[in-house]
């Protein structure tokens, strides 16, 4: 029973952590499989529209002069950004020995993997001839020409593929001890499945010694990587001469935005998961409060970046840049910009209130606003800036068609489909790290949380 663990006079102990994690992975009921079927349907819709796009051509989208970068690149940047919080929470906070990360980092890491996989699809979807996507890979063509290593798109290939590999290995390594635990208590096909994945892990002192060193070094590598990857993504834009995209603040601004949106999505996923999977005692109000503080902090960084970007444009007095920003603030699509400011700068200010930070419904709603806001930010930046090109006769405001909408919805379905399957077959909370920090976990459950009544 969910409520049994860690409540009343019953102190949470090591086996309770296992039991709670095990309960999450118990065979799923009808509701779960209906949810998975619904997500599979969304994926099918997206795939069918993409198939049509491949067959008919990019003409089925709203693309056209001057908007050849729009929703697909927006989605790419959005999903790469979502991925970053996983590395922040798992690697950066690990290096700082931040205790509250233990309950949420596995969820964030999992999110990272599926978000990068989803992001990686969009440059391919964006291509008119997706079967030539491998041209980006660093191999010589028939004339022995290599890709241009000065091109930000080539940097992207290296950055994203390194990021995916690193994140996948980081997640897989952290999973090994927990999978071994599952191997020891499972039966049937699950036991065979976990036996293969556990690679014979038994938690000997030698294994732990090497594990902790390898994990520490992986965290050490992942930390600069997380800063580099979204910086590289930002340089896709910042190295162009296009007004509205040509700003040196993009790298830190993109990194902060990535952490902002990623942490918000962790909250979006964690709030219902705590409730439906009955893991309130492992992911406590204390964890969610700390996560929301990260969202609040990065929101302030983002707000500062928006102001700086606008200030630099004003200070430069470059007429074309000024015109682009004027269009962004007051033009026909200013409502998108307004929505972005509302969602990213104003709504997160509510998190200054401890009562809101500890109220799961408020947290969920605010995190949804942030996700919408961050998607809008990328859309305004990419499609909005391209819409008002340097020659006014070329101005054309991009409106997505059903193809882009369906593929975007399909990408959310794809992400959640993978994530939902993961939660049922692999441990979504790190049992070993929760046990390691069990004193802190007990404290977060048993001692009255400062604002617990509000939750």
């Amino acid at each position: 029973m969910a409520a049994a663990v860690g409540q009343g006079d019953f102190p949470i102990n090591y086996i309770d952590v296992d039991r709670t994690a095990q309960r999450v992975m118990n065979p799923a009921g009808l509701k779960y499989w209906l949810w998975v079927a619904f997500l599979a349907f969304l994926v099918a819709v997206g795939v069918s529209y993409w198939t049509r796009q491949i067959y008919v051509g990019l003409g089925v989208t709203g693309y056209g002069q001057p908007n050849y970068w729009a929703v697909y690149i927006t989605n790419f940047v959005f999903w790469v950004g979502i991925a970053h919080s996983g590395t922040l929470i798992s690697a950066v906070l690990y290096l700082f020995r931040t205790r509250w990360r233990t309950a949420v980092y596995r969820c964030a890491e999992t999110m990272t993997i599926f978000a990068v996989v989803t992001a990686g699809l969009f440059p391919i979807i964006h291509l008119g001839r997706p079967w030539y996507f491998y041209w980006l890979c660093p191999y010589p063509n028939e004339r022995f020409l290599q890709p241009n290593f000065r091109s930000p798109l080539t940097w992207d290939f290296f950055a994203i593929s390194t990021y995916l590999t690193t994140s996948a290995l980081f997640l897989s390594m952290g999973l090994i001890p927990d999978i071994a635990n599952q191997r020891d208590i499972s039966t049937g096909w699950r036991k065979k499945f976990y036996t293969i994945l556990a690679c014979g892990w038994q938690g000997t002192d030698r294994q732990w010694r090497n594990f902790s060193m390898a994990y520490l070094l992986l965290a050490g590598f992942a930390t600069p990587l997380v800063l580099s990857v979204h910086s590289v993504v930002s340089w896709d834009f910042a190295t162009m001469q296009t007004p509205g995209m040509h700003s040196t603040i993009f790298a830190p601004y993109f990194v902060a935005g990535a952490i902002f949106s990623g942490c918000a999505l962790v909250i979006t996923l964690m709030v219902p998961m705590r409730k439906w999977l009955h893991i309130e005692d492992l992911v406590t109000v204390w964890h969610m409060d700390n996560l929301s503080k990260v969202v609040l902090f990065t929101s302030l960084v983002i707000t500062y970046s928006y102001l700086t970007e606008a200030f630099v444009v004003w200070y430069s007095q470059d007429p074309i840049e000024m015109m682009t920003f004027h269009q962004r603030f007051f033009g026909s699509q200013a409502y998108l910009f307004g929505g972005m400011i509302l969602c990213n700068c104003l709504v997160p200010l509510l998190l200054f209130s401890p009562r809101i930070r500890t109220n799961m419904i408020w947290l969920f709603v605010i995190s949804i606003f942030v996700n919408i806001g961050m998607w809008l930010e990328r859309f305004v930046l990419i499609a909005g800036s391209l819409s008002v090109a340097q020659t006014p006769s070329q101005w054309r405001f991009y409106v997505p068609k059903i193809t882009e909408v369906a593929i975007t919805v399909g990408s959310f379905g794809w992400f959640l489909f993978n994530f939902s399957l993961f939660t049922k077959f692999l441990p979504i909370v790190s049992m070993t790290e929760l046990k390691e920090g069990i004193t802190w976990l007990r404290k977060s459950i048993r001692e009255p949380y400062p604002y617990r009544k509000a939750a």
Partner: protein
């Protein structure tokens, strides 16, 4: 080897297990294996006191991997630029600033791959057989200390494990 017995001590806390390891050290029993459900600094320190292993060799592999990656990135970018030597308006053939990004990414990639592969190598994974004395609870909520001792020392070591707080002490033929 005949004449040796494996003694399996089961502990409920890492402190007791670490104390038992120190006890084994004092009793000059150095052939032992420790199982724990999570990475315990206390147990690590106690084991290190006995074995003097120092830091894990994984870091050396990672250093080598990082250097190899950086070197590969350098060769790939500068080498291919020189291979197809185009003078574009007098700009440098090998533009180091943008190449640093490729060099950096490959350094990370190779370093990470070295970290994971060396972890498997140095931990003898994948392992297809259980280590002697392993019990499934050692992966869940108990700490295990499996010592291989001469028959003449069995009683002494068993008593020491109990004194250290072992919940259960059992024998298994080695």
């Amino acid at each position: 080897m005949s004449g040796e017995i494996e003694i399996i001590g089961t502990f409920t806390s890492e402190d007791e297990c670490a104390a038992a390891i120190e006890g084994l050290h004092k009793a000059h029993v150095h052939d032992f294996n420790v199982f724990s459900p999570f990475m315990s600094e206390k147990i690590n320190e106690a084991v290190d006191e006995v074995r003097r292993w120092g830091r894990s060799p994984v870091r050396k592999f990672v250093l080598a991997g990082g250097f190899t990656g950086a070197f590969t990135g350098l060769i790939l970018t500068v080498g291919t630029s020189w291979e197809w030597n185009i003078n574009a308006g007098g700009r440098p053939i090998a533009a180091i600033a943008p190449y640093i990004i490729i060099i950096f990414e490959l350094m990370i990639l190779f370093g990470v791959l070295s970290a994971v592969s060396s972890f498997f190598l140095t931990s003898s994974l994948p392992a297809f057989e259980s280590a002697p004395g392993f019990r499934t609870r050692f992966g869940a909520d108990r700490f295990g200390l499996v010592a291989r001792v001469a028959e003449s020392d069995v009683s002494k070591v068993e008593a020491m494990l109990r004194d250290a707080g072992a919940e259960d002490v059992a024998r298994a033929a080695a």
